[in-house]
């Protein structure tokens, strides 16, 4: 068993009388790609929000790298090493692509207010490092050709990849992708699959929330399934695919719906 990076221990999340998550226990090991799936309203996004510190769980605990996330501010969670992207793209649309990534890279910089005003050598060096690293990330994501365009002028596929680049710039240990394939055509989904595998090859751990079974089943090492706030399955993609509960809860519903 490899090292556990994120430990979701018996987490229950209630909003008023509504239970969004019920006794969910989930571990993510360092270096794996975990797919998290479930029908709409199953609690995937809540799960995600608890992980990234948007909500504190009603019961249970979340530990990351052995450290409890309770009481940490959002930016501290980012500094601890969790990054995320959004289902609905949330870029800084008036900034250029490279500036967007630099905001993420800045999370690791330390130069002071005074340094920024006086433009000390250290501040200048950090600024150059940020810019170089951000350009590298844009290249890695294959979107460096539009680095100096305002984010709002980028094509949709570029915007999605820019979000991932920006999240990677915060130097996370765990990268959480919230439906990164939304709105992609099959060819783009294929590219995304390759990209996710490439990201993992760089040593990142990836949590993938996705509707598209093709993407999840192809790239995930392990798949967890949520339904009505409960975890109903957790295992290798093939095991999960043939699990009768999962078929009933998720795949079955999906088939009937279409």
């Amino acid at each position: 068993m490899s090292e556990i990076l994120l430990d979701f221990n018996n987490v229950t999340m209630q909003f008023g009388g509504v239970t969004a998550l019920s006794e969910v226990t989930l571990q993510i090991s360092r270096g794996e790609i975990l797919g998290l799936i479930g029908p709409n309203g199953a609690g995937k996004t809540t799960c995600f929000n608890v992980m990234t510190g948007v909500y504190a769980p009603t019961i249970g605990s979340v530990t990351f790298n052995g450290q409890s996330l309770a009481g940490l501010k959002r930016f501290e969670i980012t500094k601890a090493g969790i990054a995320r992207t959004f289902q609905n793209i949330r870029l800084f649309s008036e900034m250029t692509a490279v500036e967007n990534v630099m905001v993420g890279a800045d999370a690791r910089k330390k130069s002071s207010v005074g340094g920024a005003i006086l433009r000390t050598p250290r501040q200048r060096r950090e600024e150059n490092e940020s810019r170089e690293r951000s350009m590298e990330l844009l290249k890695f994501m294959g979107i460096a050709d539009r680095a100096h365009n305002a984010a709002r002028n980028l094509p949709y596929g570029y915007q999605r990849r820019l979000e991932i680049a920006r999240a990677l710039a915060t130097e996370p240990q765990l990268l959480c992708l919230d439906e990164p394939a939304a709105g992609f055509n099959p060819a783009e989904k294929q590219e995304l699959n390759e990209l996710i595998l490439k990201i993992r090859a760089q040593g990142y751990t990836v949590l993938l929330i996705e509707h598209d079974m093709n993407v999840v089943m192809k790239v995930s090492d392990r798949v967890a399934v949520l339904d009505f706030g409960k975890k109903i399955a957790d295992g290798l993609p093939d095991q999960v695919r043939s699990n009768p509960d999962v078929i009933a809860a998720y795949l079955g519903v999906d088939d009937n719906a279409s």
């Binding site: 990234t52 501010k73 959002r74 930016f75 980012t78 500094k79 990054a83 995320r84 959004f86 949330r90 800084f92 649309s93 008036e94 900034m95 500036e99 630099m102 905001v103 993420g104 800045d106 999370a107 690791r108 910089k109 130069s111 207010v113 920024a116 005003i117 433009r119 501040q123 950090e126 600024e127 940020s130 709002r152 920006r166 999240a167 915060t170």
Partner: protein
């Protein structure tokens, strides 16, 4: 050509209008920066400017020990001494305004964001104790001692309230802003050595004519004001566009929540924003005293309203808009009062604002820092 006042004095009006407009523009930057980042009209910003004028006053009268008159003449300085004195006064005015802007944020706004901390709690506790003790005892020194004793327990209970993390409704911020504004001005009016009267500031700059513009003599102080304001604004623009903290300011202005998730310390950025606005207001205050050689406890009020108008005119949240709005307002006021008479000055300024807003609700240049937010 008819012998109209506006034609006879056109270039004079232009120069003084641009100088006044530069001061409006510098103060407008404070409104615009805070609005861009917090969507809050910081009405107490006018008092940050006023504090800056008192910073200039203290700098020249206390720190530099310049008398108002030397042997019946103005205490003119020249050459390097003059430059050194002006820079010292400028820096002290900026420090006064910058620090008071940051304190204002800590005390009047941050607790309302559901995010109060111990510094804000201690300051608020001291103020509370002080105000309450004023009701019973009429001796400032005794009041201060009592307040100091009571600060700790009150601060403790404030901290417990802050811990609940409740965010106040938008209107509460506005009320807090107006309250802080009145409190700062009145405090200076009550405890200042001259109370509610005018203070003269030492005139160390001999206001000589430096050049002639189409028959109008242009004085050195106007030139310093216009050039100084432009330099400060350029520095600010560079800071916002080229540095890590500036990038943080822009990121938070566009989407605070996403910035937070990307590791931006939003509270830190808010402090930087207030400090930047305060420093610009301090610069404006020093330039103001250079031209007018005076200040008063309520000097910020009208100037603040005008600067706010300038910010809205140019497009609030937009740095270039603040500059344009300030200059346009300064010029329009001057030309207008030459045509209709000085008593119409403010009417003209606000009429222009109304007309511009009818056709361009987001101001001349539109919102910029936070344009992206839906």
């Amino acid at each position: 050509m008819p012998d109209w006042l506006i034609i006879r004095t056109f270039w004079d009006l232009t120069v003084t209008g641009l100088a006044l407009g530069s001061i409006y523009a510098l103060v407008a930057l404070g409104y615009t920066l805070v609005y861009g980042v917090l969507r809050l009209i910081n009405f107490a910003h006018s008092e940050i400017f006023m504090v800056g004028t008192f910073g200039s006053l203290l700098a020249s009268s206390q720190f530099l020990n310049i008398p108002l008159l030397e042997d019946g003449n103005y205490p003119y300085r020249a050459g390097m001494t003059l430059i050194f004195f002006l820079v010292v006064i400028l820096i002290i005015a900026m420090v006064f305004s910058g620090i008071s802007a940051v304190l204002l944020e800590r005390v009047a706004y941050r607790p309302l964001r559901g995010n109060g901390d111990s510094i804000g709690a201690v300051a608020l506790a001291f103020l509370t104790a002080f105000i309450v003790s004023l009701i019973f005892i009429d001796d400032t020194q005794v009041n201060v001692i009592i307040s100091l004793v009571l600060t700790a327990p009150i601060a403790y209970s404030y901290l417990r309230i802050f811990k609940r993390g409740r965010k106040a409704p938008r209107l509460a911020f506005l009320i807090s802003a107006i309250g802080a504004s009145t409190a700062i001005a009145e405090a200076v009016g009550v405890w200042g050595t001259h109370g509610r009267d005018q203070y003269q500031t030492a005139r160390i700059l001999e206001k000589k004519t430096v050049f002639n513009l189409f028959g109008t003599d242009v004085r050195i102080d106007y030139v310093i004001v216009i050039v100084g304001a432009l330099l400060m604004m350029t520095a600010l623009t560079l800071f916002v566009n080229k540095t890590r903290l500036g990038r943080g300011v822009r990121a938070v202005a566009q989407d605070a929540e996403t910035s937070r998730i990307l590791g931006v310390n939003v509270d830190m950025i808010i402090i930087v924003t207030f400090a930047l606005g305060g420093v610009m207001a301090g610069g404006a205050a020093m330039l103001f005293t250079l031209v007018y050689d005076q200040t008063r406890f309520n000097i910020g009020f009208i100037l603040g309203v005008k600067s706010f108008t300038a910010a809205v005119l140019g497009g609030i949240g937009n740095l270039k808009g603040a500059l344009l709005g300030g200059l346009v307002l300064g010029l329009v006021e001057n030309y207008g009062s030459a045509i209709f008479g000085g008593q119409w000055k403010d009417v003209i300024a606000f009429t222009v604002l109304l007309v511009v807003l009818m056709f361009r609700p987001t101001g001349l240049l539109g919102e910029s820092l936070g344009k992206a937010r839906v």
